[in-house]
């Protein structure tokens, strides 16, 4: 009975997450509108919130189309892989102590890193199997970018793990009580934040899509709900990274007056807002500039950060 209830609850979680992704698309358009001196979608429903539903409905109703020149199986698998890897990460994400499906799982952090690596497989296979030159360029860029930014990201997290002495997300969150870890890890926070944007492939790091150069990058040949999966993956990835940032660095569920889970949500929303803001104001660097930056600046800094943390931990002990 409990098992059955859990299945239903997981299903509800899934639906909520899909709803959040849809809502975020709408929210981003409104926030961008606000930041760019225009309105954004404001017609359907109060504040235009019905737009999220209309968009989802439109994608669902589109023809299920596979281009004749694409390699069918991989073409069909890729978007699912992307959506899956983004969704599965939420299994280990705690909203507050105890509010999570597997928050105290010992390898929670590793699982999230592993899933984000799986994500790039989806992107790459999508671009590769489309058999389109623009998509291929997008796919190649996605892989190059992911490799160069996962290293500093992992190293930044390693320093954190060193401090907290835990790989479980719940434990890492608890380490940020009462003093948020950003206080101990300001550099690590910056590295993780930047690598996180690169990980979600959003402007200014959306080189795999780069619409002015590559039309739509790796998903040029995708339409309808298959494109919708990629979209879903992008926005869920955004939520996941924002939630991780607030969990790991911004003190997770700690905060006065309000319940912990609400604080966690508010912090996540705040970080997402910053992502929107960046998108509204920054141009896209060239891909080699981006890679240079990843390897020549971010990676040495991440190593330095790890070293300093290790020395500090040896001198003064961990948290």
């Amino acid at each position: 009975m409990l098992f059955f209830a859990q299945i239903v609850a997981m299903f509800v979680t899934l639906l909520v997450l899909l709803g959040i992704a849809g809502f975020l698309v709408f929210a981003e358009r409104r926030v961008l509108g606000l930041l760019q001196n225009r309105l954004g979608p404001n017609r359907l429903g109060p504040l235009g919130v019905g737009q999220a539903l209309a968009d989802a409905l439109k994608l669902l109703c589109k023809e299920d189309f596979v281009p004749p020149f694409a390699s069918g199986l991989l073409y069909r698998t890729a978007p699912i892989l992307v959506a899956f890897s983004a969704l599965a990460g939420f299994a280990v994400l705690p909203l507050a102590p105890g509010i999570s499906w597997a928050g105290d799982w010992e390898i929670g952090l590793l699982l999230i890193l592993a899933l984000s690596s799986l994500h790039v497989y989806g992107v790459f296979l999508g671009g590769w199997s489309s058999n389109n030159k623009f998509a291929l360029y997008g796919a190649i860029r996605a892989v190059a970018q992911l490799i160069s930014y996962e290293l500093p990201m992992g190293l930044a997290l390693l320093a954190l793990v060193l401090l907290a002495g835990s790989l479980a997300l719940q434990g890492l969150g608890a380490a940020g009580q009462p003093v948020p870890l950003i206080v101990y890890q300001p550099l690590g926070f910056l590295i993780f934040f930047i690598a996180g944007i690169a990980e979600t492939q959003r402007l200014p790091f959306d080189l795999a899509e780069a619409e002015s150069e590559l039309v739509a990058g790796y998903h040029t040949e995708y339409g309808g709900m298959r494109f919708g999966y990629f979209f879903l993956g992008e926005y869920l990835g955004l939520v996941l990274i924002a939630a991780l940032i607030s969990l790991l660095y911004l003190g997770a569920w700690s905060g006065p007056w309000l319940p912990g889970w609400l604080w966690m949500l508010l912090k996540t929303g705040f970080v997402i807002g910053i992502f929107f803001w960046l998108r509204a104001s920054l141009p896209r660097p060239r891909y080699d500039q981006l890679l240079h930056w990843g390897w020549n600046a971010l990676l040495p800094l991440a190593i330095l950060n790890l070293l300093l943390t290790a020395i500090a931990a040896a001198l003064w002990g961990t948290l």
Binding site: L32, L35, Q36, N37, R38, K133, F134, Y137, L203, P204, D206, A210, E211, S212, E213, L214, V215, R279, A280, S281, L282, P283, R284, P285, R286, Y287, D288, Q289
Partner: protein, 560 residues
């Protein structure tokens, strides 16, 4: 020795009698084209560095139709222009690509539209029309209206065959890849196809495939009276508004020898500068999009809409005011124009700070545009580039300053230049030119002359409608004008203007009839896009997009 003497002695030229503008104008024998051009480009001081335009014309003579080529050369010294005309005996002419690389596309265009074959041309293909087009539409034998042609039909079976001509025979070499950027691509600013040969992500060669927007405006002109053609000039460069009307009217007014009243010149200058700012703002916004930032577009368009509202208020039109008339402008400005213009200028000026912060002051924007799309002065001259592209290479050449027209002689303004010739400089120049235009407009607020806005005494100038119901002379004259009964005296004239896209030239040939015998539109975008064949080489795709975007071309201006 004077140029005229040299041309006459060495190259057996004789002066042309029917030029009604002040350009030195000579007929050359066919055999002397190449030697004369080589002399002018290489030996003459100052060298004729710019092949401003090359076009053809077909005249009906007693002995049948006669083709001639018309070269417009310029040395980039104030007022130093030269027009050379060559009567052809057949339908062949020597190609001057080796002397002026810019001639490549001009000759292809002439081949396409007139059927003149250029010998030793490196790549003589159709350029504006599709490769399977039959006939050469600017020939007089071709029907004026599309409806007089048989319908264009594709047989079902041969569609593949028809499309085969679009598949390049130049298959990519070893390790190379062919990439079509366009016709539908977000980075090309319109329907235009760049065929790139790539090695990795580096461009080996570029072959722009243009003509998707070709509307045959030069042929259309031959079917319209001089007045009726004015609205078409707005649409050649659809972002330029009245900037396109002005050079056309300068040509017609030169032909008809009309002196435009002072106030009309002031109003023309005023509207032209508003349109210039507006056009520059569109470019600043869309160039941001090329680099992946959405912000500048909205801030630039916010300010632009203020200007469009203003233009609507003054002229009744927004994008295409079609407000200039032969001999002046259609209406006087509204009485409170100064009160309306002043606050808009302040707001546009303040708004520019936002656009600037989001573009040239942004670090990523700098990294993307510094040293990218670098054009040298020699390269700009080689391809006939003008306007901001030329000025970004350090050459302070602006028609408004070097050969002032309209109300510009009375105005104080600077010609901003840069020395790097890169995309960043061109962006900065766009911003600086907006500031200069605002300065000009502020001066016009004080200095706008009074008086009539239309030269009412000239025969070709438009008769005022309000007087037609009062005296019979005006009524008859107005009727005859509207019914296209007469035109300016026979002759040719070149009208020039500094548009936002480059130097715009209208070369109008009149045979005394009510319609132009031949009308040639020389636009800025055409040479700029041709320059991409050289500029694009060796760039990576992102830089390629950043480079072509920085040239500020408009597709309708390119294809006409």
């Amino acid at each position: 020795m004077l140029l005229a003497e040299i041309l006459q002695r060495r190259f057996a030229a004789h002066p042309a009698g029917d030029a009604r503008d002040e350009l030195p104008d000579f007929w050359l024998p066919e055999s002397q084209i190449l030697p004369a051009l080589a002399y002018l480009r290489q030996e003459r001081e100052p060298a004729m560095r710019l092949l401003f335009d090359l076009t053809a014309r077909e005249e009906e003579t007693a002995s049948g139709s006669q083709l001639c080529l018309i070269y417009h050369l310029h040395s980039l010294q104030p007022g130093d222009w030269l027009r050379l005309r060559v009567s052809l005996t057949g339908e062949k002419a020597p190609s001057c690509c080796a002397i002026y690389p810019a001639a490549n596309w001009y000759e292809r265009e002439i081949y396409d539209l007139f059927g003149i074959v250029f010998t030793r041309h490196p790549d003589l293909r159709r350029i504006l029309l599709s490769p399977d087009w039959e006939g050469h539409p600017l020939r007089k034998a071709e029907p004026l209206r599309a409806t007089e042609r048989p319908p264009l039909r594709f047989e079902r079976g041969c569609l593949q065959e028809q499309l085969a001509v679009y598949n390049p025979e130049d298959a990519p070499g070893e390790g190379e890849m062919l990439l079509n950027v366009g016709p539908h691509h977000p980075g090309t600013h319109g329907i235009l196809r760049y065929r790139l040969r790539l090695r990795g992500e580096r461009v080996v060669s570029v072959d722009p495939d243009i003509g998707y927007h070709h509307r045959g405006v030069e042929k259309i002109a031959e079917g319209h009276s001089y007045h009726n053609f004015i609205p078409y000039t707005d649409r050649v460069d659809y972002l330029g508004g009245v900037l396109g009307e002005w050079p056309y009217l300068r040509a017609v007014e030169t032909l008809a020898d009309i002196r435009v009243p002072e106030r009309a010149e002031g109003i023309r200058t005023l509207l032209a500068e508003i349109c210039r700012i507006e056009s520059h703002l569109v470019w600043l916004g869309s160039y941001g999009n090329d680099l992946g930032t959405m912000g500048p577009a909205f801030y630039a368009f916010r300010d632009r809409s203020l200007l469009l509202d203003l233009i609507e208020d003054f002229t009744g039109g927004r994008l295409h005011p079609q407000f200039f008339r032969i001999g002046g402008v259609a209406e006087d400005l509204p009485e409170d124009w100064q009160e309306k213009l002043r606050p808009v200028l302040d707001r546009v000026e303040a708004g520019l700070r936002d656009t600037q912060a989001l573009s040239i002051d942004n670090d990523i924007f700098r990294a993307r545009t510094r040293g990218i799309g670098q054009v040298s002065t020699a390269m700009a001259e080689r391809w006939g580039a003008t306007s901001i592209v030329l000025r970004s290479t350090g050459s302070a050449w602006d028609l408004r300053k070097t050969e002032p027209y309209g109300f510009y002689p009375q105005l104080q303004f600077a010609v901003p230049t840069a020395s790097d010739g890169d995309a960043w400089s061109r962006t900065a120049l766009h911003l600086e030119e907006i500031h200069e235009s605002i300065t000009i407009l502020r001066q016009l607020l004080r200095m706008m002359p009074s008086g009539p806005v239309l030269a009412r005494d000239a025969a070709e100038a438009l008769m005022p409608k309000d007087r037609t119901l009062q005296d019979i002379e005006t009524l008859i004259h107005h009727f005859e004008q509207m019914a296209a009964e007469f035109g300016p005296p026979a002759g040719v004239a070149l009208g020039l203007g500094e548009s936002a896209r480059g130097m715009l030239g209208y070369f109008v040939c009149s045979d005394g009839g009510p319609r132009p015998q031949r009308l040639r539109v020389r636009t800025g975008s055409f040479p700029h896009v041709q320059m991409i064949t050289e500029l694009g080489q060796g760039l990576a795709i992102p830089d390629f997009i950043a480079s072509i975007g920085s040239l500020d071309y408009v597709l309708a201006d390119l294809d006409r």
